[in-house]
């Protein structure tokens, strides 16, 4: 019993000793390559904001067009809320420009995503047939030091996907 207790104690001692380099190693892997799951890491919120005169951010405007000629604006956060913010931005950009998603499939067809959008729209707008969906990216510059705060809006890019073609 005494020997077993001694072995147990030594195992715990070693566990603590090796865990520190292992924790550092997984942090290095996460920073250098990609974050493993699970990993003992908290969000870093990297990057800083220059102490400038304005705050810059990008917003999207999404419209759905129906076969009866009507159109509705969709709130991106509500429409695709289950997809995390940064990934959603990346996904939408690549989807509408027909490019692969970072770290994803190399040659995506986006067929499933198109079907997903279409079925979601059909559920949202009953008795209507969605024909196409458009997206526009706008850059906003907010001059917060001015009174009242001035907002500058510039169109960066836009894209359109027609459901019928898919």
């Amino acid at each position: 019993v005494k020997l077993r207790a001694h072995i147990y104690k030594n195992i715990v001692r070693i566990l603590f000793l090796i865990s520190i380099p292992l924790l550092l190693l997984q942090l290095y892997v996460a920073r250098k390559y990609s974050e493993p799951y699970p990993a003992i890491i908290y969000p870093a919120f990297e990057g800083t904001s220059k102490n400038s005169e304005y705050n810059k951010y990008i917003e999207t405007e999404i419209f759905v067009y129906f076969d009866d000629g009507e159109k509705y604006q969709l709130d991106e956060r509500k429409f695709l809320g289950e997809i995390p913010y940064k990934f959603r931005k990346n996904l939408l950009k690549n989807y509408f420009l027909n490019r692969p998603i970072e770290n994803g499939n190399e040659k995506p067809t986006y067929q499933e995503f198109t079907n997903f959008l279409k079925s979601r729209l059909t559920k949202m707008f009953k008795n209507k047939t969605p024909q196409s969906i458009s997206i526009s990216w706008y850059q906003y510059k907010q001059y917060f030091r001015e009174n009242p705060v001035r907002l500058e809006k510039t169109l960066l890019k836009s894209g359109l996907i027609e459901f019928d073609r898919n």
Partner: protein, 371 residues
């Protein structure tokens, strides 16, 4: 310093930093399970099956990377039910060690697919790992079905898993602070917290609580101090793990830190609170429980019959309603769940500190601070 003295110090840190009695471990196990079952809610992963496989981007080093798409509905439903039932079994302390490990494994499997949507969420990290680590403390030694099976026999418990959780917690904070330190947060010509606030406020619509107030604050000194405080607090968290009393103070500040983050950036981190609970003054808390005779109830509630009954209720509730019961209740009475939870946590922590200081004599306090 001789080798023996170093080893003695090291052992003192590993084995005696956060001593837990079998009663304290048993009560903590029950609180942890109730926290998940009633407050955060058992995760329901079934909705992931609706996600299109085009967006399947698992972390390269994860279980999900072995698969080419999101799993089907019935697999995820089984996993959800399995986790819910495992939590009930853990609550009643049946085969505690193996069940604790299975809880963490099920959680990790489900989350691996959940985080295959391009982002890993870090809020539930400790919630997932606690059972896996605490399994080795023998937290089923009291107030459990296991303890009834071996009644009369002294069960050995261990406190080192608590130190290990402290180490993990300290490192997690450190991993958040180090990139900030290296990434220019201390540069006085930039304001990182302010930048995050602007990004969250305008781009992500985080405009609740006190965010509209903070967005108007234009003091450079205020924002720079916040940057400095955040970096210092997060980086130093790892180093205070070897100083139990300072670590406990950091835990108290963590509650204030989360409250500030919630009020300003509308980011919730309430899942951590159950991990912080490990570091309260347990003798004081157990004394309180025995005064209100709750420990007598806890000794009697762990039966197979009550476990089965509770399991059926939990299963029915989560399959029918599916959301955290406390969140539902708070929303009915129009109280925002995360902020209420954090304020209650902060109040309890403050009471814990108050009674601790009140009950201890000066010499006991000095001994406690410098053991």
């Amino acid at each position: 310093m001789t080798w023996t003295r170093i080893l003695k110090k090291y052992d003192g840190w590993v084995f005696n930093s956060f001593p837990m009695t079998p009663e304290a471990l048993g009560v903590y196990r029950i609180i942890y399970c109730l926290y998940v079952l009633l407050i955060t809610g058992v995760p329901n992963w079934t909705w992931i099956s609706e996600m299109p496989n085009d967006i399947y981007t698992p972390p390269p080093l994860s279980l999900a990377s072995f698969f080419s798409g999101f799993p089907g509905y019935y697999f995820l439903l089984s996993l959800t039910i399995c986790l819910g039932l495992l939590y009930v079994i853990l609550l009643f302390g049946y085969k505690t060690k193996i069940v604790s490990i299975l809880v963490s494994i099920s959680y990790i499997v489900g989350n691996s697919f959940l985080y295959s949507r391009g982002k890993i969420d870090h809020t539930d990290l400790l919630l997932v790992l606690i059972p896996l680590i605490m399994a080795f403390s023998n937290w089923g030694a009291r107030f459990s079905i296991d303890s009834m099976c071996v009644s009369g026999k002294k069960q050995e418990t261990h406190s080192w898993p608590v130190t290990f959780i402290a180490l993990i917690m300290g490192f997690a904070y450190f991993s958040a602070g180090l990139p900030k330190l290296l990434g220019g947060w201390l540069n006085p010509s930039t304001h990182a917290v302010k930048g995050i606030l602007y990004s969250y406020f305008y781009s992500q619509g985080h405009q609740s609580y006190m965010a509209p107030f903070f967005i108007k604050v234009q003091s450079d000194l205020f924002w720079e101090l916040l940057d400095y405080f955040t970096v210092f607090y997060e980086v130093s968290f790892l180093f205070v793990v070897v100083l139990p009393t300072v670590f406990r103070t950091y835990i108290y500040f963590a509650l204030i830190f989360h409250l500030m983050v919630l009020l300003m950036l509308n980011i919730t981190f309430t899942e951590n609170m159950v991990a912080y609970l490990l570091f309260i003054n347990w003798p004081l808390f157990l004394n309180f429980l025995s005064r209100i005779k709750l420990n007598r109830f806890l000794s009697q509630f762990a039966t197979v019959r009550s476990m089965v009954l509770f399991g059926i209720i939990v299963l029915f509730y989560y399959l029918e309603i599916g959301a955290s019961p406390l969140s539902q209740l708070l929303m009915i009475i129009k109280l925002p769940p995360p902020i209420t939870l954090l304020l209650v946590g902060l109040l309890l922590a403050t009471l814990n500190v108050y009674f601790f200081l009140k009950n201890y004599t000066k010499s006991q306090l000095i001994k406690y601070i410098m053991p």
